[in-house]
Amino acid sequence: MVMLMRKIFGRALCLLSLATGLALADAIPAGALSTGASQTRDQQLREIRDVMRGGRGGFLDVGFNYLPLPSQTPLESPYGEHDGFAFRHHFAGFGSGAVARNSQLGALLWFERSGWDGEDFFFFPQYNDFSHVSSMTTWGLTFSQIKYDLTFAGGMQHYNVERVGIVYPEEDDSLYYSWAHLRWNHFSLQGNFYRSNVRFLRLSMDLESRVVYGGQSHGILTYLPNVDFTVYNRSVDRFSADNYRMNWEQNLYGQVLYAELSYDFPDDGFHSAALKYYPDPSRMVAFEATCIRRNKDIDGTDDLLWGGAIEFPFVRFAYNSSYEYENFFHAKGTFIVEFQFNMTAFDGFLFARGGTRSAPLETINIERKNKDKPPEGDGLIHLNPSELSTSNSNKPKTLEATGIRYEKSGGNEGGK
């Protein structure tokens, strides 16, 4: 009976998925899972770069993808297509505090557990023959000298392999990755190292003026670009020669409309482009239209993938979006839901990662605080509320009688 029920449920689910077009989802190539670690490493350090723009404050990020159907992210192995679930759970935190005048010490932790498994889970995967479950932890300490607008940060990156199925190349834990980040004003230099080898170096120039970091709210300075240039050392894994990537983020209109371009040198050329609209400069909400060149080594084609995404404070919906393609194992052809939330706090401003102004939520808060202030009075805490009305009209009298009142109340309540 239970069997039959399961079958019926299964069939109903298949029909549902067909009906919604989700069954047309493209499979995730096994190669995207086995090369996912290097992408995560890069992405986490990019996020750290963004959060460290101010060098102090706090940051919190939490998110996980939610896919209801096993046909949404099937795995493409040499044997065919496996039904199952790609997953990505991540959280990140950063906090700092003053240790001396003009000196801030902080700590940060970025964590991501991701891969593919035969079952939908939150903590305990099925670990079947084709699972790929691994996690990446980046941690570090930060030190900022506010007077010179200088930040130094550094730490380690640990890659922990929980399960690598039979269709992937062998992988091991690697604990010897380290990173360093040096920021001065709008410029930062970031390095990722494996033992004594440099894996990549990134020079970022976040020239755009941001109110939250003491810049301007409008004007020509807000139209300066954010450019970063990364040199990847591919010779270490004998994969290919060095290559370079340039990212260009450009404010197009009032820090709410941005264009992004990513370009690979010397061979690959165009990598991705995006047009992003943030209705509010705090970037709590985003509408994205993206285009990315697919990876020929893994997908077998270098077609352009067009897609888009909508992001709200707690949830993100994406279809063929470049962020999901890059960070969610080349998933495409299906709607991907991510429950996520991230918030940066800096000098009392609250905004999402990369934001330029404080979230509107907080302005409401401030106004509310003012409105909720108790009505103007004599600033005394009245023991008896009924006296409030009389105290204002007969002020001198009340003052004269203070001693008596205190005596009385003290006698009755036994407090004084």
Partner: protein, 136 residues
């Protein structure tokens, strides 16, 4: 005033979303009620004169294989039930002989089959010299 009401509404919304997130985290556990993540396969040889030697999953290019039912099934017999992690669409290689006692030349038949997961019963019959696969 309106803003403070809005604020309160947003707080309620956030609370409801938080509440909604709790059962959502259990979806993994819930989906296991109707989504099978392994296939328990039994093969029946419904032919009159062929013997089945084995059933394997092979890679699409034929270079690697993984054996699944490794057992000789004579006409009219059923194999043991073997559970494996194959859920999805795979290329199957069936080794068989055109004899009732598993003697003679080994022949090979390739098929793309869809495995939904759960208990599956595969009936292999022969019609006019070609093999027919049917799940029951």
């Amino acid at each position: 005033m309106i803003r403070s009401i809005l604020m309160r509404r947003m707080r309620t919304m956030a609370f409801l979303l938080g509440l909604f997130a709790i059962p959502l985290m259990l979806t993994g556990c819930l989906s296991h009620w109707f989504i099978e993540s392994e296939t328990r396969l039994q093969v029946e040889n419904a032919t009159a004169k062929y013997s089945i030697l084995s059933l394997d999953v092979v890679s699409l290019d034929g270079s690697i294989y993984s054996s699944w039912i490794d057992e000789t099934i004579l006409p009219g017999e059923r194999s043991r039930v073997v559970s494996a992690d194959w859920v999805g669409e795979f290329k199957i290689r069936l080794k068989y002989t055109k004899s009732a006692d598993a003697s003679g030349d080994t022949l090979v038949d390739y098929r793309m089959l869809d495995f939904d997961g759960g208990s599956m019963f595969l009936k292999i019959s022969a019609e006019k010299g070609s093999l027919k696969y049917k799940f029951r």
